[in-house]
Symmetry: C3
Subunit: 270 residues, 3 copies
């Protein structure tokens, strides 16, 4: 399973596939996505955390969103409590998935891995360190031969923002925008129902800052886009279990003028 | 064979690959394209109809362009007259390919398929219904165990617009624009030759509405882009057998200011 | 190994995969990239030359960047001195990789290849000629049965521009821009060190035309982005061994207002 922010415009992804095929010809590679926004470690970490349950349990996970490549950040390979193996930079990218899998039971530092390509470039560790290590692990070579032992307690973890209750409103950070303009919130359905709102009822959505806020936008709490008319706003639990905002057959990010890092304020009623 | 409008920015395609690999590890997935324009069922249907002849005859086809996900539209798996199996929403997406293959000989409704993931989300049936059903069918499990029998006569079909003759002109709807700006018409070479035009001769291309039309653009009826000088317009039979308009080494959609849903009026002569 | 300028918006890549899977079901296809800029033969040739060392040595290389499709350019299959096989148009696309591999030891002209699909379209030789030929060669069929013998001396080669020294400056053509806005130069680290500049020292970067040039931009000769602060310019040897210009966590092409085909003038000092 391979995730990165390399995109498809250049040959970066293809070259990593080539390195893997040379070292582990039997490996089958699932490209989870290479569309993580450049250097957006948090977005990559969130995708890994919510997606790995849908990939084969024996898969090695290769993840590269690496703004610090060539700098002081560690390169690591991890064995999780569910026996899954992950390979990537130690910048928090792997931390949300690892926590969800029950934590890290073994870690190695790849700085002097005997499996690195020679020479190692300063800027393309995906090709020179991470892909060859992932390929050899996929081929069954033991994790402890990939590099030096590392105390899992030293690994970098990232924290996600959380929604909060403000009297009669739910104030939720927007943590993602998908290709359709749907806004993913750091909140779950239960947060909304705690306001006393039930499925099918009307809502209002405003910007997160109460002072600058107008009357907000009319929306509805639904199970899916189809619960509102085309062009209308719906708040729903998305396919990952998170609360999300969509415009049926439209673009919620564009309509509300909001994006990742902004907040929304949701209240019940017309 | 997997087609969708998911794009490559998010992990939707990769998660479906993961689900398939879990259920049918031996499956090899050919990504036909995930660049169908969002919710453009007709475009997806046209791509399937013209492409399946180039894919392995034993392949299961997984197709997801699904604006009605979570609503009342049926989810189906079909066996075609040529023995090919298709899985996707019953919104016409599968209908053009099915017709080209000689029709549907068996259909099942997947609403209560025992092969669905549990829980089924309201918005990501690609992951929760279509991918697991396609994977199990690819693994050789029988179609009639995928869900309830459905009368093929109840399936939704879509109709394509057609070119028409207006005295000395061919008026043809534009049904697609590719990444190069080439315009695909709902017409074939024979329609043009019926005007008395032969290969190599000059043409004029105007907008489809006669009243608002100026003198139009000079073009030539050619076999390929190379038959005209760079920057010139050529009308030719494209690789799918359809009549198309291109600018040699340029962008016909941009030059003519036309796109999918518009019409062109083609006449012979300078 | 498959490279093209087809992009991922249409089904062109997927249809070629289908053709390959029909003719050589055991083939595994590595998509090196399909993001070559449309018709940019030189960019495709440079990617092939620098990438093939990272792909399996036994792989057949299918490369299609083909502005002259349907015209007079030859379609060819080549055996290189390192025993690698390449298939594509004879427009220089294969020439840089072939030269790097020690040259071409055998060539065949595919114009009348018995392995072509029937009919052959005028515009999609990737599907109708190149993919079926590559698939059969990958399946082990002999090169000399793919078409007519061709003298390798007749193959088209392309030449790359080169950096030059102008008194105290290095004037280097920009030959590529990656998805991150990093500028690739037709120069290597040694060219810069020949100016007396050593790693860590300051540089100035100006446009290539001395007359219109202001004082230029401050930069530093580093090993990687991490050697400068975010937002600062760095000149470094990239992962392919070429000299490149980046803005740490930014977009050098945008900052400098330069792109492929432009030149830069690099001098030592503040």
């Amino acid at each position: 399973v391979f995730l990165s922010d390399y995109g498809h415009q250049d040959e970066f992804v293809g070259v990593c596939h080539g390195v893997i095929a040379r070292l582990c010809p039997a490996a089958r590679v699932i490209d989870l996505t290479h569309g993580v926004r450049r250097h957006n470690v948090r977005q990559g970490a969130m995708i890994l955390a919510r997606s790995l349950q849908y990939t084969p349990p024996a898969a090695v996970v290769l993840a590269v969103v690496d703004p610090g490549v060539g700098g002081a950040r560690r390169a690591v390979a991890l064995r999780l409590a569910d026996d899954r193996i992950m390979v990537g930079p130690d910048n928090g990218l792997l931390s949300l998935a690892a926590a969800r899998a029950g934590g890290v039971v073994a870690a190695v530092d790849l700085a002097a891995s005997p499996w690195r390509l020679d020479p190692v470039s300063a800027t393309f560790h995906g090709r020179d360190i991470f892909a060859p290590v992932a390929a050899r692990l996929a081929a069954g070579e033991p994790l402890d031969e990939a590099g030096h032992d590392l105390d899992p307690a030293q690994l970098i973890a990232i924290e996600l923002p959380r929604a909060r209750r403000e009297s009669e409103a739910l104030v939720a950070p927007i943590v993602g925008v998908d290709a359709f303009g749907n806004l993913e919130l750091a909140a779950v359905g239960e947060d909304l129902r705690a306001l006393g709102v039930i499925a099918g009822e009307p809502l209002r959505i405003g910007g997160g800052n109460r002072r600058r806020q107008g009357p907000g936008h009319a929306a509805r709490y639904g199970a899916t886009f189809s619960d509102v008319a085309p062009g209308e706003l719906v708040v729903y639990e998305d396919a990952t279990g998170a609360l999300a905002i969509a415009v049926a057959q439209g673009d919620a990010a564009g309509r509300l003028g909001l994006g990742s890092g902004d907040q929304v304020r949701i209240t019940g009623g017309q």
